[in-house]
């Protein structure tokens, strides 16, 4: 493994964020339906998981349940608008739909050079979606959405696909691509002067994309001599799609795991369904798994009455089972003195506690104990604590000097040992 080759150096610190839309169950404590609640009973070390988190019980000492956190600016936004800023903390409103950099991309900008791929962006819907209904969690330094991949085979080919050409031929091809892109840039600049102002901004988006590929080409050339890791593809459902949600999610988690294990990248995001109830292809996943309703309706019904608690709780239970599968794979793999999970911080959750409610985000923080995180607790915070404080501490734990992120007001040292 490339990471191990680093020898005595400390194992790299990784970050992975997984998002689901619409929220969770919050019924009145003391009723039987509270058993389907997301948030545990009790607090601190002394807490008890509810039914939908049963799969996480064996991983209790590897994770922390977080309550009360949210982005203050998200609270001012529409109920379905906040997937876009889950990792950015920006405020998006009509007329001002510009986002800012996401946590994963800040890390990728800082340290992404050290791996073959600076980051990995996945989602069920793919592409970027539209502002306030993004189908990606990642945004660049200039707030541009980074398109997510949603086809397992494409992700696999990108990470582990082998080019059968000789090295010198591959090098020549990369150099040719570099020259091609130089000429394209030159040619496009001459076009720019003939365009109106709005068009020029669109063309700038294109020019940025060309420059980014140029950088990728240069990077590929640097990595040419390092053979791509070989991984065992058996058991991967690379042709899974939105008609088989279980296989699709599991395979995406497998790919995230393999990407981290082989140190192909250290930063990744995965969005499970976007907040566009009207268009997300993931909306029907619960029904395909034999549950009663679409994601959006399950969340809505859970607000209407007690009868809605169990159906949504079961869906959440499915999501946490999948998460547990991913965490177990990370934990079962040794790295340095500990496990891969010890060096990987996983943030799992949503920006809706209930549908249309953008506060008290349901969040699970797992792994990263080698980075100083302390687990086995349910921590509750007041709404004066911005979620960005957590991001500041995570940045620091991943090795980035950071004094602030978005609207942070400090750090969140409570998560540390």
């Amino acid at each position: 493994m490339e990471a191990m080759a680093a020898g005595a150096e400390a194992a790299p610190k990784r970050f992975c964020a997984v998002y689901f839309p619409y929220g969770i169950v919050q019924r009145k404590e003391g009723t039987e339906f509270a058993e389907w609640n997301w948030f545990p009973e009790g607090e601190g070390l002394d807490f008890r998981f509810r039914r939908s988190h049963a799969a996480l019980e064996p991983l209790r000492d590897e994770l922390t349940m977080l309550g009360g956190l949210s982005h203050p600016k998200g609270r001012k936004m529409g109920g379905h608008d906040t997937a876009d800023n889950w990792l950015t903390g920006a405020e998006l409103k009509e007329g001002h739909l510009d986002n800012t950099i996401s946590l994963d991309q800040l890390l990728a900008d800082r340290f992404g050079e050290q791996t073959r791929f600076s980051s990995l962006t996945l989602s069920t819907d793919g592409g970027v979606g539209e502002p306030t209904r993004a189908s990606t969690l990642s945004f660049s330094r200039t707030g541009q959405p980074i398109p997510a991949e949603n086809k397992p085979r494409l992700v696999f080919d990108r990470l582990f696909g082998v080019n059968s050409d000789s090295l010198s031929r591959q090098r020549q091809q990369l150099r040719n691509s570099g020259s091609m892109l130089d000429l394209v840039l030159e040619h496009s600049r001459s076009l720019r002067g003939q365009l109106g102002q709005v068009d020029q901004r669109k063309l700038d988006e294109y020019l940025t994309a060309v420059r980014q590929i140029e950088l990728r080409v240069e990077r590929s050339e640097r990595w040419l001599d390092v053979p791509k890791p070989t991984v065992d593809a058996s058991g991967l459902h690379l042709d899974a799609d939105d008609s088989t949600p279980r296989e699709l999610m599991q395979t995406m988690y497998d790919l995230l795991f393999l990407a981290f294990q082989t140190d192909s990248t250290r930063y990744a995001t995965y969005q499970l369904g976007n907040m566009n109830g009207a268009t997300s292809i993931a909306g029907k996943f619960p029904q395909l798994l034999g549950m009663a309703d679409s994601m959006h309706t399950l969340a809505h019904d859970a607000r209407k009455g007690d009868a809605g608690a169990e159906p949504l709780g079961r869906w959440t239970g499915f999501l946490t089972e999948q998460l547990a599968y991913f965490l177990r794979r990370l934990r079962e793999t040794n790295e340095g003195d500990g496990s891969l999970l010890d060096n990987t911080i996983v943030l799992f959750g949503s920006s809706n506690s209930q549908t249309h409610v953008n506060e008290n985000y349901p969040l699970v923080l797992a792994g990263g104990q080698a980075a100083g995180l302390r687990h086995g607790r349910y921590l509750r915070f007041g709404d004066e604590v911005p979620l960005a404080n957590l991001f500041v501490t995570l940045l620091q734990r991943c090795g980035a000097e950071s004094e602030g992120f978005a609207d942070s007001s400090g750090e969140l040292s409570a998560i540390l040992a």
């Binding site: 529409g78 109920g79 539209e130």
Partner: protein, 797 residues
């Protein structure tokens, strides 16, 4: 002189602005304060609208202008003040309406003087696919890896502002261009051709499949082609006849699939599906590119050869019987094999022969190669001039404009740089062409803004027209007219619009426009619950989408009134969808006009696609249906839900109640009533149609083991006070009372699609004028399309 006039205009605008501000304070603000602010103010801001702080400066505040526009609409439709509140006096109403109308008009005029905004428009997936197909002369899948496109708030995937570019996107464009060109430009001598003929299916006694030349409820005909090329076009010829149980039965449908990969378990991929009509045997011909199908590795020992499958995919809704194991004595030994029962009531296919040939080409190099590379250099010295000749032919077509000097020069620099290491002339040329295909001139619909003239050039106009009606690049005829500078002439443009509409390629317009306008992809978002609808075959979703597109196409092609889309006594069906609806329809897979005879509602509100897309997969969803009616048919989308909807508690039994009853409980809550009163009735009127679009008298609800049936109650009061009971009432209401609102909605959507951008306030007058003429002309779609093309916004004036 011009500057002087403009200065005068500015002065006039400024003084008009002063006058407007005064009139706002004296005559409008008092009305708002007294009559509106109690529900649209600081304490309560229904629908998120506050009229106490709303700016009266429409020209300076675009958001405010749009809210004022909503205010005007609410007043004009009589929706505000709401029922129960005292109406505005005539003077009050006129003060507000006159002021808003005048301000909107003035704002629009001022904006136009600043020049309308357009956004450089990237080709979307469909346009990219069609454009490469036409440019390279090869119909292969170019867009498999491209990420999905962004849609505009109107639902269209051709909106320049919404469509983004990113490194990932561009990387896939380069990949697609390179792999397409590697096939379009060939090198070397003509490849060997492989052919195979068989008359009997291959057999494999181990498999639980009935291998047979006869394809009934069970059965697969399989041909194994021993030798085949790795790439190139193939042709399959299958001779088959139908055996019908009765002379008027449905036709069996033959699905042909090709390939199989054992190592990755990739199943065979569909080549085509055809109806096999009764009568004598016919020969069916299928073509495709062999490299687009899953092929097993040649080193694989278990399945040598290429497998081609023919199956009968006709379905009458009954499941195919499983095979059973039978033991028989043969030569003194007990042999176990599978048996299936034949069903004489099922329309069957008998395959008589199978032929395979690949690669097929009329000449070598093939036609598509010769179009791209007109001259093959005989010696290295001729390569430069041969490359230039190829570029001079290719670049104007790729860039959709006349050649500029630097175009060929830039490409030739890359050619010379690449040639020493590329190995051959053809390989070099492929990558030089690929460079053009990742240039902005190809990937975007570029419209330059020269200072000396207004409006689009003829070539830009050709592109707009071609992408509007064909979703692809202009053809030779359009390009020739643009080259000659004649396309902008009104009579020429009109004739071309009609020609494009009549051409089969306008199917792309029908599909793209209908999918966006009516949100037909919605059927894929809903999972139909099999416990509620055990007989629902998921392939019906595609049929439903096609029904709606075909209805629109029928109205367009026959120049029918567009109001037929609201109320029709026919719909467009194929055999399987007609059976789903319980109607007698065509015998095969093609969509044909079917009279409804009052058995189900006609028009868009009777479409399975619309009804299913706006359902839960178990029951109707009156809210979503209501939102759909307002958005698609009236262009009056309700505001999005507020940031924090208060909690609503329903009883535990609510699951057993029809959604409509649950909704009524919600509407009783004051917090939700305001918005939902104007959303839900539109959907409630459709309660007589279930989640999969079937007419119903009772509504089935289940909760655990319990099951209840409720009578349908489709009575609703529309926001203007009209009582409707059921879908036909709603159809009559829309058709008879609101034809112009529907026509205006359709016009606005069509204009937005044609321009590839969202409409703004400035466009309101254009939409009004178009709608008026559209109505005067009897609501004919070709008329409307011709007017849009002839109009100032489309021509960039």
């Amino acid at each position: 002189m011009k500057a002087l006039i403009r200065a005068g205009l500015l002065l006039a605008t400024a003084s008009a602005g002063l006058w407007a501000a005064e009139s706002f304070e004296t005559s409008v603000r008092p009305v708002l304060q007294q009559r509106c602010v109690m529900c649209h103010g600081e304490a309560i801001a229904n629908a998120g609208v506050r009229l106490d702080t709303l700016s009266g400066d429409l020209a300076g505040d675009r958001r405010a202008a749009e809210t004022w526009h909503d205010v005007l609409n609410a007043l004009n439709r009589g929706e505000m003040p709401p029922r129960g509140a005292p109406a505005l006096s005539d003077d009050e109403r006129r003060a507000v309406v006159d002021w808003v109308t005048e301000e909107l008009r003035r704002t629009a005029a001022a904006r136009r003087a600043n020049g309308g905004e357009v956004a450089l428009r990237r080709l979307n997936r469909v346009e990219y696919q069609n454009t490469l197909r036409d440019l390279l002369g090869l119909d292969v899948d170019y867009v498999r890896n491209l990420p999905p496109d962004e849609r505009s708030r109107e639902g269209f995937a051709n909106n320049g502002a919404a469509l983004r570019m990113s490194a990932l996107q561009l990387e896939y464009y380069l990949q697609a261009a390179r792999s397409g060109l590697a096939r379009a430009i060939v090198e070397g001598p003509a490849p060997p051709v492989f052919a195979h003929h068989s008359e009997e299916t291959v057999q494999d006694k181990d498999a639980n499949i009935l291998w047979s030349n006869r394809l009934g409820r069970n059965g697969a005909f399989v041909a194994r082609v021993p030798e085949f090329p790795d790439e190139g076009e193939f042709v399959l010829r299958i001779r088959a006849r139908a055996e019908l149980p009765t002379p008027d039965s449905a036709y069996p449908r033959m699905e042909v699939t090709l390939g199989y990969r054992a190592d990755t378990q990739t199943p065979s991929k569909r080549v085509a599906v055809v109806d096999v009509e009764g009568g004598a045997a016919q020969t069916f011909e299928f073509r495709g590119r062999i490299e687009e199908f899953p092929l097993q590795s040649r080193t694989q020992s278990k399945y040598p050869g290429l497998l081609v499958w023919a199956r009968n995919v006709y379905s009458d809704g009954k499941p195919a019987p499983e095979g059973r194991k039978v033991q028989e004595q043969a030569d003194g030994k007990t042999v176990t094999h599978w048996k299936w029962d034949e069903d004489p009531t099922f329309p069957s296919i008998v395959v008589e022969s199978f032929d395979f040939k690949a690669p097929v080409y009329v000449s070598w190099p093939p036609e598509h190669h010769r179009r791209l590379v007109p001259a093959t250099p005989a010696s290295p010295a001729e390569e430069g001039s041969a490359a230039r000749a190829a570029l001079r032919g290719f670049l104007p077509r790729a860039y959709r404009r006349p050649l500029r000097d630097e175009d060929v020069a830039t490409s030739m620099r890359y050619f010379e740089l690449l040639r020493p290491s590329a190995g051959s002339f053809e390989r070099t040329l492929r990558d030089v062409f690929a460079m053009a295909l990742v240039s902005p001139d190809f990937l975007y619909q570029v419209e330059t803004r020269p200072n000396d003239h207004k409006g689009l050039s003829d070539h830009e106009l050709a592109s707009r027209l071609s992408y509007f009606l064909w979703s692809t690049t202009p053809d030779d005829e359009l390009r020739a007219l643009a080259d000659a500078g004649r396309l902008h002439q009104p009579e020429v443009l009109r004739a071309e619009t009609v020609r494009l509409l009549r051409d089969d390629r306008s199917r792309a317009f029908v599909e793209q426009f209908c999918d966006g306008w009516l949100d037909l992809n919605g059927v894929d978002r809903v999972a139909v619950n099999p416990t509620y609808f055990p007989d629902f075959d998921p392939t019906l979703k595609a049929d439903m989408r096609q029904e709606t597109r075909s209805l629109f196409a029928e109205v367009l092609r026959n120049d029918l009134s567009a109001l037929t889309l609201l109320r029709a006594d026919f719909t467009m069906l194929n055999e399987s969808l007609a059976r789903h609806y319980g109607l007698r329809g065509p015998r095969g897979g093609a969509f044909e006009r079917v009279a409804l005879d009052g058995k189900r509602p006609g028009g868009l509100l009777g479409q399975g696609s619309v009804l299913l897309a706006n359902s839960t997969g178990e029951d109707s969803h009156p809210i979503e249906r209501g939102v759909w009616v307002r958005r698609a048919l009236l262009d009056d989308p309700p505001p999005p839900p507020p940031p924090a909807v208060p909690n609503l508690d329903a009883s535990e039994d609510s699951e057993l109640l029809p959604l409509k009853v649950q909704l009524e409980r919600h509407r009783d809550s004051a917090a939700c009533a305001q918005c939902h009163r104007s959303i839900d009735p539109w959907g409630v009127a459709l309660e007589g149609l279930d989640a999969v679009g079937l007419v119903r008298d009772t509504i089935l609800r289940r909760s655990g083991e319990r099951e209840e049936r409720h009578p349908v109650d489709a009575a609703a009061v529309l926001p203007d006070g009209t009582h409707v009971d059921g879908v036909n009432d709603l159809i009559d209401y829309l058709h008879d009372q609101r034809p112009n609102d529907f026509a205006r909605a359709l016009t606005a959507k069509l204009l937005s699609y044609a321009l590839g951008r969202s409409l703004e306030l400035d466009d309101e007058q254009e939409v009004d004028a178009l709608t008026e003429r559209f109505a005067e002309g009897g609501y004919r779609l070709p008329h409307l399309i011709t007017m849009i093309v002839a109009g100032d916004p489309f021509q960039g004036r």
